[in-house]
Symmetry: C2
Subunit: 338 residues, 2 copies
């Protein structure tokens, strides 16, 4: 049993995201202030990080700065920069994790780069063929965990099987859902419906030690009738981005409507406010980022536009994953199966 | 050049859908009443069809009834009923089309059955490897045509290529979009992003005689930045069903909100009404069903829950496809390419 109060060290990549280094630094400070059981290691250009801390009069004992002279941009090709930018903030942060100087990474940098660097630096849990990125999609009763949302575009049935095991453990121990219902995303509920990969995955999942409820369809993701939805990274990525665009669509339509008259303008504004409240779970900022699962370590990825609030939630999510020993549980589950 | 006023004969499968035969019959009558340039052939159990017509005092010269003693249910396995129910309303209607006694089919029956029966009875256009089902998804500027949404779950690159050609012609001549922008659904805009199938399809589409704008992402479907989005039937089906569920999600959230107080109840009701108006294009009833493209004939499929209004729109869509000779144009385009 772990000491529930032991200090967890989390490395935050200060140089990734649309508002770097300001937002990651402010988020780090906020997290460190709220939670003295973590130490936040801010990795990036030390001078700029210090400026932000000073400007905001932040001086906390559980914040540490580690310098990194390079950083990765959204345009960088992941496989290239791994070699050309060995001292990127991302790489330095991951190196610390490999050297046991930190236990987790939080980054709002280039998703592909975080995925590739994390996989190369940390390696995968024994028995896992592919790491996966998961995401939360709003549902009628809360949210649904969807994975994979883009780590692996061409999946084999065994990968879907692993996603199901990992998603089930994450849902149970981090999202606190009792006996999470795991569904395989397909084009019909019947066992015979699906593509070549899902048909084979279905056979494997029937025997898995999880609460597998069979095939689910596109509409089930938002229905609240399933907790974990498993799919290949191609389909998952497209759904995630489609889901993210729905709020923009609503907003655009409300604006069009408001342009048809003055009263409608006021009315549209009022509706918009209520909708925002009602659709809070549509907001990825609430969800603590997208954890990578299957790695020998912890990496939590966030949207490039993440606010300090969203990044703070990611830091706490990383802490949560360590305290609950998610990786240990995944490794154990896989050992039992094989 | 066709005579623009010649009478088009359209066979309506009266026995398919949740409210058959009532809704298909009422829709047929409404269409025949509004448009004297079509003859609607209602196919199904004659006695029941006559009862509905009499009960509603419908007596129109351009309605004809053709008896069919069997019908297909939503539970029927398409490949089985093709043999066991040779005299289903669906099969009788398609046989008429093959025998040139009708030019189109409209059905709200079991989608898989309509697809299989249509393909077997009508055959494919020369040069087409797979027929496709298309659907309209709401966007910020109107709607986006998405195909394939479920006809073929395991697509080859050549199938995606064909979908692009067919979608482009349909969008131009039926949806009246000038030089429709055709996008390939993928996980990133760059040419190198995609799965094995889309990467190869991209190469083919670059040389296609259409306005190919490259890869598009999940979020682009609703953005209004692309007119035709091409994908495999597995991904497309999941997106379509996911999109259909978004309105239910909004509704459910509004109901939850309304339960928190009396004023909120009234407020939620008012919002709901406005949303309905704003999101009219979310309503599949408006879209004239989902045409099958690539067949040597015309089949328009509708949702099982389609209202008479929706089915009427499907009948007019079928008429439109014939008057615009969509199939002739597809065949011609393919001949030019090969």
């Amino acid at each position: 049993m772990q000491d529930p109060n032991r200090v967890i060290r989390i490395a935050v990549d200060a140089m990734g995201g649309d508002f770097a280094p300001e937002y990651p630094v402010l988020a780090s400070a906020e997290a460190a202030r709220e939670n003295s059981n973590i130490e936040v290691i801010i990795v990036g250009m030390e001078k700029r990080i210090r400026e932000i801390l000073e400007k905001n009069s932040i001086d906390l004992p559980n914040i540490r700065i580690v310098n990194a002279n390079e950083f990765i941009t959204m345009e960088d090709l992941p496989s290239e920069v791994y070699k050309t930018k060995p001292d990127s903030s991302l790489n330095v942060a991951l190196r610390m994790q490999r050297n046991k100087e930190a236990e987790a990474l939080v980054s709002t940098s280039n998703t592909g780069a975080v995925l590739l660097h994390s996989t190369l630096k940390l390696g995968r849990i024994s028995g896992i063929g592919r790491a996966t990125i998961s995401a939360m999609i709003p549902s009628q009763t809360g949210s649904t965990l969807l994975l994979d949302v883009g780590a692996t575009v061409d999946c084999r049935p065994a990968h879907l099987f692993e996603y199901a095991i990992m998603g089930s453990i994450y849902s149970r121990d981090i999202l606190k859902i009792d006996k999470p219902r795991v569904g395989l995303l397909s084009v019909g509920e019947e066992k015979v419906k699906g593509n070549e990969v899902t048909l084979e995955a279905f056979e494997m999942l029937e025997k898995a030690p999880i609460n597998f409820i069979g095939n689910v369809e596109g509409r089930d993701i938002t229905r609240g009738s399933v907790d974990v939805v498993v799919c290949d990274g191609f389909t998952g990525n497209i759904i995630l981005k489609f889901a993210e665009s729905v709020l923009d669509l609503l907003k655009a339509r409300l604006i069009q409507y408001s342009e048809t008259g003055f009263t409608k303008k006021i009315w549209a504004g009022m509706i918009s406010k209520t909708l925002k409240k009602i659709l809070k779970t549509f907001d990825y900022q609430e969800h603590g980022g997208a954890p990578l699962l299957g790695l020998n370590g912890v990496s939590v990825i966030g949207h490039g536009a993440s606010t300090p609030y969203a990044i703070k939630k990611m830091i706490f999510r990383a802490e949560d994953m360590i305290r609950n020993d998610i990786n240990g549980k995944i490794a154990e589950a896989l050992k039992k199966i094989k």
